[in-house]
């Protein structure tokens, strides 16, 4: 655990978002969103395309600057911090579309993941991510751009883990992958959570997301319309309605 995190209130949730508003090219993409992710939880943020899920994640890590509201990470205000400082504070985002450095080798991609954590723990983390994704171990000298979609997703997650994060944000890890690979990636996500890393998962595959997560928030056009335990939401008919764009607020 990094000292920065230990210094913050130890009972504060991993992530606390209050009344987040994000305006993106003149459009209010997120309208007063609030959510909370407790330490060690897997929380999922689900919703149809364009609901504002990716914008929310980008906003949490400071990639989208225009925003109102509060963002607290392990009890510390994170709204004014640039992305690179948040990474140093133990937050990692695996972006939608993976954003692998295609012209760099798998090993170089992983090394870049530890840009802010060049300590002795680096080798141990490297060994751990290779254990988690053995296929990456076989492809270390290969360029990232030559990997298959599934392998790129593994690399993107492994690269994020190389920063030794305590809060991991995942944006659509199942996107464009064959069902068998999706299963494998989600098994890894559960394994990662078991090591004590808090996870906020944005996903379009609702069924899978609700099977994996402890709790869920359902987003419709930039607003949370429904939230609760994933186990209870699984069979909730309102989830379906939310995807069809209906107003499901109760």
């Amino acid at each position: 655990m990094s000292s920065a995190v230990a210094a913050a209130s130890s009972t504060a949730p991993a992530l606390e978002v209050r009344d987040l508003e994000v305006t993106y090219g003149g459009i209010r993409a997120v309208k007063g969103l609030s959510l909370e992710v407790g330490r060690g939880e897997i929380v999922t943020l689900i919703g149809a395309n364009g609901a504002g899920k990716t914008t929310t994640l980008k906003s949490i890590v400071g990639l989208v600057p225009q925003r109102k509201g509060t963002i607290r990470i392990f009890g510390k205000d994170a709204r004014a911090d640039p992305t690179h400082d948040l990474v140093a504070r133990g937050v990692a985002l695996v972006p939608e579309g993976r954003a692998i450095f295609g012209a760099m080798t798998v090993r170089e991609n992983l090394e870049l993941g530890s840009f802010r954590r060049r300590d002795e723990g680096r080798e141990a983390r490297f060994a751990r991510v290779i254990e988690l994704f053995p296929r990456l171990g076989e492809r270390l000298a290969q360029d990232g751009g030559t990997l298959s979609g599934g392998e790129q997703q593994m690399l993107a997650i492994a690269r994020a883990l190389m920063s030794g994060p305590e809060l991991l944000l995942l944006d659509e890890p199942s996107l464009g992958l064959a069902p068998k690979l999706v299963r494998q990636i989600f098994d890894s996500i559960i394994e990662i959570a078991a090591t004590g890393i808090t996870i906020l998962l944005v996903e379009q595959n609702t069924r899978l997301a609700l099977e994996t997560a402890n709790r869920a928030y359902v987003l419709v056009t930039g607003e949370v319309v429904l939230s609760g335990l994933a186990s209870e939401l699984r069979d909730d008919p309102r989830i379906r309605a939310a995807y069809l764009g209906d107003d499901v607020r109760v």
């Binding site: 992305t83 690179h84 990474v87 579309g97 295609g102 760099m104 920063s163």
Partner: protein, 311 residues
């Protein structure tokens, strides 16, 4: 005997061309690095090259080079190295300042805005140089005293050798830095994907500033070598030479570091061979013929790759 003479002549031209080309290569590196990282053509880069040459001139005077000349003593090599370092450092600061004050405020604007800003900075620096350094050509101080060697009719000077040597050492140093250091890795990451680089914890503003500083330092080294080679410098020296180096970067594949070196050497050779065998009048024009040719035939450049699709 006729054949022998023409071979000697050709070798001589090639050597001169490679020496000129290594100066272009040093300048082209800065264009290509900045383009790679910001997709910006830094038109002020030629002026950074010019300022580097002038800083070298003033530092040489400060070291009292006139006195050494008057006494017929050779200028200490240590001073020559210090002059090079001082010019590179000054240019690095200038490059970083240009980035901070001129380009950063317009970084997220449309593509045309930074481009026009770059032209503006270029004109500003040229005119400032005329004001500060004076508009007239200045004789470049002989910080390395010329020694001539002759091998079977081929004349080689220690200055030409120094140009090769310095250019080669700096290029290799840059290569090692880009491939092996964290700064270099950060630069490559930023050039591939800015947001992804931020997510790695890279302070991308810092990386961009470092890129400008390093590219500018290389241009300053080119400026001193140019001064040594061409004997005189002017506030306008960066315009044509800068353009040629830019063409060199495009020829090699803009954004590609080995490409800039290759392009620089080829432009230097083409220029020298044109001057030697065709007519000295065409020595500047050939560069632009090459530019038109490469844009028609292989717009991505000799070593460039067609822009990779993002998955």
């Amino acid at each position: 005997m006729k054949v022998g003479a023409s071979v000697t002549e050709l070798v001589q031209q090639l050597l001169n061309g490679l020496s000129l080309g290594s100066i272009y290569a040093l300048i082209a590196l800065g264009y290509t690095m900045v383009y790679g990282i910001l997709r910006l053509i830094n038109f002020a880069h030629g002026e950074v090259f010019m300022v580097g040459a002038y800083v070298g001139l003033y530092v040489a005077q400060w070291f009292g080079i006139g006195g050494y000349e008057a006494r017929g003593e050779s200028f200490p090599l240590v001073y020559a190295v210090l002059i090079l370092c001082a010019a590179m450092a000054a240019a690095a600061l200038l490059g970083a300042a240009i980035e901070l004050f001129a380009y950063r405020p317009v970084r997220s604007a449309q593509r045309l805005t930074p481009l026009i800003t770059a032209i503006g900075v270029s004109l500003f620096l040229q005119n400032l140089a005329m004001l500060v350094f004076g508009p007239n050509p200045r004789a470049y101080p002989p910080i390395v005293r010329e020694l001539r060697y002759e091998f079977g009719g081929i004349i080689l000077t220690n200055i030409k050798l120094a140009i090769f040597g310095v250019a080669l050492a700096l290029t290799l140093g840059l290569h090692l830095m880009v491939q092996k250091t964290w700064t270099g890795r950060a630069m490559r990451a930023v050039s591939i994907n800015l947001d992804a680089a931020k997510l790695m914890g890279i302070d991308t503003n810092r990386t961009i500033r470092q890129t400008f500083a390093i590219g500018s330092a290389l241009a300053a080294a080119g400026g001193i070598l140019f001064g040594l080679d061409q004997i005189t410098i002017t506030p306008q020296m960066g315009v044509l030479t800068g353009l040629k180096a830019f063409v060199a970067a495009v020829l090699g594949g803009i954004g590609n570091i080995p490409g800039a070196v290759l392009g620089g050497l080829l432009i230097g050779l083409a220029e020298q061979l044109t001057a030697g065998y065709l007519s000295p009048d065409y020595r500047d024009a050939i560069t632009f013929v090459i530019l038109i040719g490469i844009l028609l035939l292989k717009p991505e450049g000799l070593l460039g790759v067609v822009k990779q699709e993002k998955v």
